[in-house]
Structures are given as C-alpha cells and as structure tokens.
Amino acid sequence: MSHPRQLFIILALLGIIGLAAAAYAWWPRPNDWTAAERATLQTLGLDSLPPLPADPSNRYANDAQAAAWGEKLFFDTRFSVNGQVACGTCHLPQLGFQDGLPLGKGVGQTGRRTMPIAGTAYSPWLFWDGRKDSQWAQALGPLESAVEHGSSRTQYAHLIATAYRDEYEAIFGPLPDLTGLPAAAGPVDNPSARAAWEGMSAAGQEAVNQIFVNIGKAIAAYERTLLPQPTRFDAYVQAAVAGDTAVMRDLFTADEVAGLRLFIGQANCIRCHNGPLLTDNDFHNTAVSQAPGLPEDLGRAAGAPQVLADEFNCLSAYSDATSEQCAELRFILAEGEQLIRAFKPPSLRGVAQRPPYMHAGQIATLEDVLIHYNTAPTAPAGHSELEPLNLSPAELEQLLAFLQTLNE
C-alpha cells in the first residue's frame, strides 16, 4: 500500500486491457464461420445438389425426344376444355414457373397456390399435400381437374391422334385404333364424361390410360430439365467453404450475413428448408391459417390416402418401377396427427420473387411471412411445429435481406 499510485496505474492498465479484449470479442466480424457452420453452409449450396435422381417409374424420363415433345405439350392450350389453358398458363417460365396469384386460375379457380417446378425431380412427393408421387403422375392431375384444364383423357387421346400422331409414335410406338372412342370421357367430375367413361370396355379404358400416361411421362421428361439456377448465395457459400473473406465481403452486405447466420441458427429455418433445394420435401404444420371461403384443407392428412389410392402411383401397372423401387410409397407415413394441415415447404430459391406465400396465398408479403414464423400463432387444426422466435424487427430485416440473395 506504499505505492497507491503504482497500484492505481496497474489496475487501470488491467481495466484497459480488459476493455480492449471485450471490444475485440464484440467487434463485428460477420464473415467468421466456425467449421460446423461452414459444413452447414456447404449442405445448402447448389454445389451440393446431387446428380438428377433416376425416375424408375418413367422409362422415358431421360429421353431427349420425349422431353422436347413434352415441352410442346406443356405450352399447348388445346389440352383444355376451352382451348385456353396449358400447363404454362399457371406455370409461367418468366415467373419461375408459377403465376404470382394467391390461387391458381385455370378454367376455374383452384383451392391452392400454383407451385414452382424447378428441382421437383428431386422430390418424392408432388403438390402441397403430396397426393402424387412422380412428376408424370402429377402432370395428369390438373389435366382432368374441373377447375384447371377441365377436360378428359379421351379428348386428349383424340388430340394426340390428330395433332401429334407422328411425334407420339416415334417415341411410344403405334397409337391404338381410336374409332368409336367417346369425344369426352374420363373418371372426372363432369357427369356426362364420367358416364361415358364408365360405359367403355376395360380394354378401351386401358388403351386410353396408356396414351394419357405417356402424355404425363413426356411432360415429366421436360420438367426434369427445369433446375434451380446458381444465385449470389451459392457464390457466397463457395467463398465461405474456401474461407475467402475478401470474396465473402464483396458478395454479401453485413445485414445479409447476419440474416444467413439467423437462417442457419436461431431462426430454425433449416429445420425444414434444408439441403441445396432449401426444402426437405416433407410435410409440416406451420400454423398457416385456413383460407377464407375455401373448404377446410387437411393437407397431408388428405394427400397421403390419395397417393396410396392413386391409379398412377409408383406401384401401379402404369409405373415402370419395380416395387423395390417404390420405397417412399411402401413406407409412407399415412396416418397420425402430425399430418393434419401439414404442407410441403417449397424451395426457398427465388422466394422473394414469388409472392404471395403459403398453400393458398394467405400471406401477401415475405415480411409478413417472417412475422408469422416469429410469433408462431396456434394452428387452426393439428399441431404446429413452430415455436416463437422472439427476433427483433432488425433481425427480421436481416433475414429478409438474406432471402433476397436467393433471387434467381
């Protein structure tokens, strides 16, 4: 105690060193990622996308001729009851193969939001509720929906015979004789078309089904070629994996980096939006509200029994797969509370360019989607997987900034 002045100086120095250490620890170094975080980032980048998986249920899946023909069918409005609706009417290429509307509009209005197509070749389940298990089976649904293309499979068979006979036969072999086939018949809502279908022989139905299925398989061969495009985010992941801070700093603002950190961390986004497609292609109840004016939508709880009963599923006679190749269908989870109002998360690639959001376009803006996840309301039915995130408005802004780096 004889040198209080020296003691004071030592303590003061200690304090200053401490403050400097704190400043160093708290100084923002947004592009520092731990090894575990880098590994997570790598799983999300497009470089981690595996090669296109085989579709054993469609022997024409990788047939270039089928894909080229399928593209024509995709945009041909003659495949509809009023000559005005093609697949491309709602799946607009310039809008990322969706339409920007809350509910899809074909010849009538559907009860669901039009889904984007890129990368769906990787998904075991198609549609928001997964009621189809292949791209080709999915393509056939809207063709016979009363509010989408609105027609029936014999009309499409006649159209192939008159407008596309050569192209069809070059790929699939000779068309059967269609004489005497009803102009409009199929297992559809329209009572006269349904009656006409029920009046046909089993052999006649099977011949038409084969043509109908081949239409789907050609469209699927085209849709398989629609893949996600590299984004600024993918370039950032490459730089992060390489540890190239200068490139990272060039590519992302501090807010975008902070948003990415929340995305893989506190905001729990990657629970469902994981892998290079930023979706697990499974089904989740995230407490999305029931759309007003529409019948109650049970999501996967309704879709699972439908795909099991589907005449065109992987185990059907029209599938080219062996039953061993239909593992997703054979081991499907078809019952239970976790399926109620569970819907498939779409890929987040290009998400900021695709308002409105959710399965019936219930949420108009991405800002409001983030508020929904942040507050985690109670599900209208079933059990929501969400927990409140308690993120600040500034943090939600950061997430929003990050999601825009996924623009295509």
Partner: protein
C-alpha cells in the same frame, strides 16, 4: 490518509465492476463453460445465437448415448445396427441391418420387431413408417424405409418380441 484509502477503494471497485462486466460480455465468446450447472439447465433452448457451435439449434442433451451397439432397456437382448447409408445424412431413403442377440451372445431368430421414433425436442415422429421386411439369418434383420428430414437429435426405437420382450432406443445426431 483517508484520501488514499478512498482512492484505493474506488479503483478496486471500478476494476471489479469491469471484470464482472467483462465476464458477462465475453460469455458469447467462451460459451457457458463457467456457468453453474443449475443456471445452464435453466437456459431456454432459444437463447440468443452466439458464435459457439452448440448454440446453433436446440442441442441434444449432454451425455446422450449414441452408440450403435447396446443392451436393450431391460438387458434382455444386445442389439446393434448398421446403415446402408453411412454416414446417415438427411433426406435420403435408406435401410438398416439390425442385429439382435441374447445378452449371452446367441443370435435371436425370427423375432417380431416394430419400429418407431421421432425428435423428442421437436415433438414430432418419423416422417416415414419404417418396417422390418426380412429376416436375413444369424440374428440379422432388414429394416427398410428410414428417412430423416432434418438435422438434430433423432430417436429410433425397436420393440422386440422373441423369447421374451424388450425395447431399445438408438440416438442419432444428424447434421444439416
């Protein structure tokens, strides 16, 4: 004299305050290793993200047994699994081979085995309905239809009936 004491006391108080503040402010950097276990247990799972890896998502409980070869809950059987997909990654359908033997090491033939599981921290079950599809001989069983759709702590439970009945829960911690 009294001025000297006051100076010392003030300096000491300021330094102590600084050290306490530092301890708190540096916590995100060095993680909760100096926290009393009681405090650590009461921390909410959604605590603010820091730089520490284990805070990225709800962490599995400390000391979770992730061994792939264990005795069943009542030590009736010894069970092990090996996955066709190794390491197990998310979003891929795959199969396991389950080996069941008695605690004494004799292969258990033609057992009836049920599969269940889920994520205890998320409150949901498996996304598929895996099943034992084939007895392969020598106490080996084929389990088909496994797919995990997110990273984190998963439980896969087997309910085994042979000469006796027992259950076992394997723990997996998946990345991604």
């Amino acid at each position: 004299m009294s001025k000297k004491i006051v100076t010392i006391l003030v300096t000491a108080a300021v330094t102590a305050t600084l050290l306490i503040v530092l301890f708190i402010f540096l916590m995100p950097t060095y993680g909760p290793r100096f926290l009393h276990p009681l405090m650590a247990d009461s921390m909410p799972q959604s605590m603010p993200a820091g730089r520490a890896e284990h805070m990225m998502n709800a962490a599995p409980p400390a000391g979770l047994d992730t061994a792939a070869n264990r005795l069943t809950d009542n030590e009736q059987f010894r069970v092990s699994f090996s996955s066709d997909l190794d390491p197990v990654v998310i979003n891929q359908m795959h199969s396991w081979t389950l080996h069941v033997e008695t605690a004494a090491g004799q292969p258990v033939e033609n057992a009836e085995i049920l599969v269940d599981g889920g994520m205890p921290q998320h409150g949901h079950g498996l996304p598929t309905q895996p099943q034992v599809t084939e007895y392969l001989g020598e106490g080996n069983y084929r389990v088909e239809g496994l797919r995990f759709q997110m990273g984190g702590w998963w439980e896969v439970k087997f309910d085994i009936t042979a000469d006796g009945h027992d259950t076992i829960t394997f723990n997996l911690v998946l990345g991604g």
